[in-house]
């Protein structure tokens, strides 16, 4: 091993030992089993009922995809753990050195602060991956029931949660480095999390630019991945924020640097991050990994839409909280943006709920403008939107193909053995692991 690499390897070893010595990590590990168990068992039961178990009419579950029916709810346990458990593990690992005084010794090595923080982040990510074996166990159970698995969509969900964990780790590291005490860091971290919820709430009420910003908050990001959608802008922005959080932590862990200089560096870092995030927001490529193509129009429609070169402008007179607006956005506009990057959408409303605008002239109208021609429609379904666009563009609608329709994978089996795995075997293994590691670790 080269002399340059050796200190880093020792640092990784140290961080690993500190992680497995921390009760916070073991508690997170312990909690992951029951958390995943609750969501998985409930999801499989619902899926089975819809597929015809217990006398329900068979065939209802035909439209069911395991992505929406099983993986999204099962992996949501990871989201809960990332919000409420992982920050404390991260804070413990970063603050622990400062609290114990170890940081004063380690800082005397000329290794860069970012490398130091990076080692912690790597180990924390490793710790998260170990905790993620709980949803992995759910995947194996599902397979054992004879359930269908479509690897690309499952990988997208897992990747989204890994990215979310990275964001949490970076946030926790920055908070722990900025504050003197772990409890202050925990408050700061949770405040940021609650802040993102507030942004989502404001976006739902106000719409506009808030809606755009809310699209990059962890809950919105996770929602995209849970639908099997990988958006390049979301991935790039998340990675930028992870790096920025770790860099901020590195800036504030350099105790030997004057506070004023650290403040200046933080401001510069904030400005640079904002610029990069702004640039990344213009990256349009995205990939629909879902087997059911839930984020896309049928392939024939995408081919037809790709032939439309003129920019499309849509003006929808719908308030942010009007359910029709959510329908329009999710069923049509989001899919349209993926095929027609030049589409411009403007929502117009006088109020946030739209309840008292129903009788106002033009409310509920959706205006389409393409190549100098205008057309109005009130339909918010994907089919209705496409019909209007085809009519405006003078493009012949493609024929609906029976083969392109997703038939789903109904599975009418109960979650056999899952309770034993997640409520019994998992906790027992975690406790045994903690005892074993405690004994062997020294």
């Amino acid at each position: 091993m080269s002399a340059a690499v050796r200190p880093y390897v020792w640092l990784l070893k140290k961080e690993y030992r500190e992680l497995v010595a921390s009760r916070a990590w073991w508690v997170m590990l312990l909690a992951m089993g029951p958390l995943v168990g609750v969501t998985f068992i409930s999801a499989v039961r619902t899926y089975a009922e819809a597929s015809g178990l217990n006398g329900t009419s068979a065939g209802v579950g035909e439209a069911f995809s395991p992505l929406i029916g099983v993986w999204a709810p099962t992996f949501s346990a990871c989201e809960v753990a990332a919000v409420f458990l992982l920050p404390f593990v991260g804070i413990r690992l970063v603050s622990g050195d400062r609290q114990s005084g170890a940081l004063k010794i380690e800082l005397q090595h000329p290794m860069s602060a970012f490398t130091r923080v990076g080692a912690k982040a790597l180990v924390l990510l490793g710790g998260w991956i170990v905790a993620s074996t709980a949803p992995a166990a759910a995947v194996l159970l599902w397979k054992s029931y004879g359930g269908s698995i479509y690897p690309p969509e499952l990988a997208a969900v897992a990747f989204g949660h890994l990215l979310n964990a990275g964001l949490t780790i970076a946030l926790a590291a920055a908070a722990a480095a900025l504050t003197e005490h772990p409890s202050t860091a925990a408050i700061l971290t949770l405040s940021v999390t609650v802040g993102t919820w507030i942004v989502n709430f404001i976006a739902a009420v106000q719409g506009g630019v808030w809606e755009r910003v809310a699209g990059y908050t962890p809950p919105a990001m996770i929602a995209g991945f849970q639908h099997g959608l990988i958006r390049l802008d979301v991935v790039l922005i998340a990675l930028t924020l992870v790096l920025a959080g770790l860099a901020l932590a590195a800036v504030w862990l350099r105790l030997g640097v004057a506070v004023r200089r650290r403040v200046h560096e933080s401001i510069a870092l904030g400005a640079l991050t904002a610029a990069v995030v702004f640039s990344c927001a213009f990256a349009t490529p995205s990939w629909d990994t879902s087997e059911s193509r839930i984020n896309s129009f049928p392939e024939a429609d995408e081919v037809a839409l790709a032939r439309i070169r003129a920019p499309l402008r849509i003006e929808a007179h719908l308030a942010p909280e009007d359910p029709r607006r959510a329908d329009l956005e999710h069923r049509a506009i989001a899919k349209l943006r993926r095929v027609l990057p030049k589409v411009q959408v403007q929502y117009v409303s006088a109020t946030s709920i739209g309840l008292f605008e129903q009788n106002a002239p033009h409310y509920g109208e959706i205006w389409y403008e393409l190549g100098g021609r205008r057309e109005m429609s009130r339909v918010t379904t994907a089919e209705g939107v496409l019909e209007t666009i085809y009519a405006l563009a003078g493009v012949k609608p493609p024929l609906e193909s029976e083969d392109a329709i997703f038939r789903g994978h109904p599975l009418a089996v109960p979650p056999k053995g899952a309770a034993a795995v997640f409520y019994g075997i998992w906790p027992a293994l975690v406790v045994a692991g903690a005892v074993l590691v405690g004994r062997l670790g020294r």
């Binding site: 002399a3 200190p7 170890a102 940081l103 004063k104 010794i105 000329p110 200089r261």
Partner: protein, 238 residues
């Protein structure tokens, strides 16, 4: 070997260190003497690079040296810390030796001299204050840096242990390692140090061997001060 020039550190309006200057010579045991709150720990933390200086510089052979050079020359062993509390002493020694590329060949000798062999499998968080101090001193002695700055190296040690540790520090100094020790117990300092820097109220009140300090005290007081009594000299100069 090293010169500290005009070291200054302020906390708001409070001057923790005011224009402190002194020299450190190779192979000596230099004592930083001062009452509690005189700025000893602040001075060490600034020199160790874990606290920023407001002004002042460090020179080596007449030229200032960078933070990277400082990290290869000075090792600061803080007082009252419990690093890696859930790890064993054995592992802490392994880690610091590996991380800092320390003096592995001295490991057995240092462990024996500081009598920490029975503690090797105990976690650092479970050690008593004196045991922890000896374990930390072992880490300090195993570091590759030519200058070891130890903050209160005798704090928590009983009389016998203090004498043994003093002997150990002196023996490594005579082998060429420079020891810079912050000590508030003047008797401990007198037993182990070659020269002294007297610090009071964040200012250096004198520097030199005991007879040089006694002469300085006499010059300031206008009357003779016992040249073999560091306590009297210290009181006269601060």
């Amino acid at each position: 070997m090293l010169q500290a020039i005009g070291l200054t550190k302020r906390y708001g309006g409070l001057i923790a260190l005011g224009d402190v200057s002194f020299s450190v010579f190779q192979g000596e045991v230099l004592g930083l003497i001062g009452p509690n709150g005189s700025g000893k720990t602040t001075l060490f933390e600034c020199l160790g690079g874990v606290l920023p200086l407001d002004a002042g510089s460090l020179m080596r052979d007449g030229r200032p040296f960078s933070a990277r050079e400082r990290a290869s020359i000075l090792f600061y062993l803080p007082d009252a810390i419990v690093p890696w509390p859930s790890q064993s002493v054995r592992w802490a020694l392994d880690f610091t030796l590996g991380f800092f590329d320390g003096r592995t060949s001295l490991r057995g000798e240092v462990v024996d001299r500081l009598d920490i062999a029975p503690l090797l499998d105990t976690t650092i968080g479970a050690l008593s204050k004196g045991q922890r101090k000896r374990a930390l001193l072992a880490i300090g002695l195993l570091m590759p840096h030519p200058v070891l700055m130890a903050d209160e190296p005798f704090d928590g040690l009983d009389l016998r242990q203090s004498r043994d540790v003093a002997g150990t520090l002196r023996s490594y100094a005579s082998a060429g390692r420079t020891m810079f020790l912050s000590i508030h117990q003047i008797r401990d300092a007198a037993r182990v140090c070659d020269r002294f820097v007297l610090l009071s109220g964040g200012r250096a009140r004198g520097e030199g061997r005991i007879h040089e300090l006694a002469a300085l005290a006499a010059a300031r007081a206008g009357s003779a001060v016992a040249s073999d009594d560091l306590e009297e000299v210290f009181l006269a100069l601060t």
